[in-house]
């Protein structure tokens, strides 16, 4: 038995081994645990009286790695944070560094970033609902929604050249412009998502089994959620309308008309409803953005930030030098520190970057939304049944890559 620094026994098996109690170990590798996570639950009959959540199985040293590469080289790593909505991570990191440098990207680039972020949000929510429904026995929903997600992957693949790891943004812009036929291709995709959602809605939303598994389960109060630093759909399900896109609009989110759905009771069913509605809202944003998107450059014309055009690199010494310096030394923000948050699929995704004036970040810190959610998981599980672990954990939507970095 190991002791931590306060001399408390570390294994809950020993702490909680009372008469009539059973300590069981869920995970680290369990079919209903997306991502590797371990829950040590103390049961009384079928009721959970105590739970200890253990993470760290996918820690890859993201923050340490970032201190040793240039700013643009961090972008591909950010894909691997929340790999279900990689574009939001890319955009968040680029915006944080741009804030640090003090530049603003072109209008067209802002629209492209919004469109890609919202498509990513849709894939995130679709995956969450699909997996959650599947784990509760509604396998059909999984196929409907994953098929819808596949259409978006194809669409974003056309734009960035990568399905799950697009590495799409650069400091000061994006890698490629959206294809000419993007608007035409997006229309049927968005319509098919609407259809899939309507089908899901018909099968799931008033489904008696589903409702009984979700309603009143994994409940958390508004006060607890705020004290536990919850953000995103889980916080909104308790009735707090906090969304970074509305509270502190970044990019061009203030130009769109969209709503922030909130729940009332803070249970799993409300979370499901909030996520469903958010997909519709994201579709609305994408449609408005596609209508409004202006023409123009996609990267900033600044030699110290974004790579010069290839013609310049091959035909002028200045262009070649700028290219060389940017590749070898990287973008050099002034010394300072910034915190920038975007609304990720699971909540506030914050980047805290400290620069010492060189081409490599002195410190990059990610504020992962599901890290905060996971620490509240034990509280949400206590008092419930062992079978509810799957429902609650599914609605937390833990993405190990983001939680453990």
């Amino acid at each position: 038995m190991k002791e931590n620094i306060f001399g408390k026994p570390q294994t809950p098996e020993i702490e909680n081994a009372e008469e009539g109690r059973l300590v069981i170990n869920l995970g680290p590798s369990h079919p209903a645990m997306h991502g590797i996570v371990r829950i040590i639950a103390t049961l009384e009959g079928e009721k959970i009286v105590d739970a200890d959540v253990e993470i760290g199985y996918l820690h890859r040293g993201f923050e340490k790695t970032c201190e040793n590469v240039t700013y643009n080289q961090v972008v591909p790593y950010t894909d691997r944070l929340n790999y279900v909505s990689p574009f939001i991570n890319n955009v968040g990191f680029a915006l944080a560094v741009e804030k640090l440098i003090g530049i603003e990207v072109s209008e067209r680039c802002k629209y492209i970033r919004v469109i890609m972020s919202e498509l990513s949000r849709i894939t995130d929510h679709l995956t969450c609902i699909a997996a959650n429904a599947m784990e509760l026995g509604a396998f059909t929903i999984y196929f409907y929604l994953i098929k819808a997600r596949e259409y978006i992957y194809q669409l974003t693949d056309d734009v960035s050249g990568g399905r799950i790891t697009p590495a799409y943004t650069r400091i000061g812009g994006v890698t490629k412009d959206i294809p000419k036929d993007f608007k035409n291709k997006a229309k049927p995709v968005l319509n098919s998502i609407r259809e899939s959602l309507a089908e899901t809605d018909r099968i799931l939303t008033r489904n008696r089994i589903f409702m009984e598994r979700m309603q009143g389960v994994g409940r958390i109060s508004k006060e607890d959620a705020m004290a536990l630093s919850f953000t995103g759909p889980v916080l909104r399900s308790t009735g707090v309308p906090y969304d970074v896109r509305k509270s502190q609009p970044y990019l061009v989110y203030d130009k769109f008309d969209f709503d922030i759905p909130v729940g009332e009771t803070g249970d799993n069913y409300d979370r499901y409803l909030v996520r469903m509605e958010e997909i519709y809202q994201s579709i609305r944003i994408v449609e408005q953005a596609l209508k409004q998107i202006p023409d123009g450059p996609i990267t900033l014309e600044a030699r110290n930030v974004s790579l010069p055009a290839k013609e310049d690199v091959y035909n002028s010494i200045e262009g070649l030098m700028a290219h060389f310096k940017l590749i070898y030394e990287g973008v050099k923000p002034p010394p300072g520190e910034v915190y920038f948050a975007v609304e990720g699929g699971n909540g506030e995704l914050g980047y805290y970057i400290v620069s010492d004036g060189t081409g490599r970040p002195y410190r990059v810190r990610i504020r992962p939304p599901c890290f905060a959610l996971m620490q509240g998981l034990a509280k949400m599980l206590k008092g419930g049944y062992i079978a509810d672990v799957v429902a609650t954990f599914g609605q937390i939507n833990m993405i190990a890559g983001e939680c453990e970095r």
Binding site: N4, K64, S229, Y242, G336, Y339, A341, R367, F371
Partner: protein
């Protein structure tokens, strides 16, 4: 964005606020280590900062006080962010835990302990969170080598 909170905090805690700056609209105050709980209680109860968004640390080897523990607060009612920092010496890296004020400080502080070896006094369950218990050293300190390898741990059984 101009400075909004810094003057107010400076006035209220004139001998506690050591340093302050406002960079790209982010307001930062550096406060005395032992006054952390007092200031944070004031922030939560009187200034409406309901959210403790993030706790992290930065390692500055060579400084007199090596570590900086960085807190990001967010106020939903006022829609405002604030960064509070405390400087921690290497000889006794200990900070008061914010667990009495925000239960959400729990894992964030455990992560800082795990990565930097900064202890949080009053934290009820301070153990490693991302690394395993047998891991030696603190990986996010600047003197921890990037490519250092540690021996594999035999399975307990």
């Amino acid at each position: 964005m101009s400075e909004v909170l810094i003057p107010k905090l400076k006035e209220k805690f004139s001998n506690i606020v050591l340093d302050s700056h406002s960079f790209r609209g982010d307001e930062t105050v550096v406060i005395k280590l032992d006054a952390l709980l007092e200031v944070c209680k004031y922030l939560r109860d009187d200034m409406g900062f309901e959210f403790l968004m993030d706790v992290t640390a930065v390692d500055y080897p060579g400084r007199e006080k090596r570590f900086e523990v960085v807190y990001h607060f967010y106020s939903f009612i006022n829609n405002y962010r604030l960064r509070v920092k405390v400087r921690v010496p290497e000889s006794n890296p200990a900070v008061d835990s914010l667990m009495p004020l925000w239960s959400g400080a729990n894992w964030f502080e455990r992560e800082v302990y795990d990565m930097f070896g900064i202890r949080f006094s009053g934290h009820p369950d301070l153990r490693r969170i991302l690394m395993y218990d047998e891991f030696v050293g603190y990986p996010l300190r600047k003197d921890y080598p990037l490519r250092k390898r540690q021996p594999r741990i035999p399975h307990p059984d």
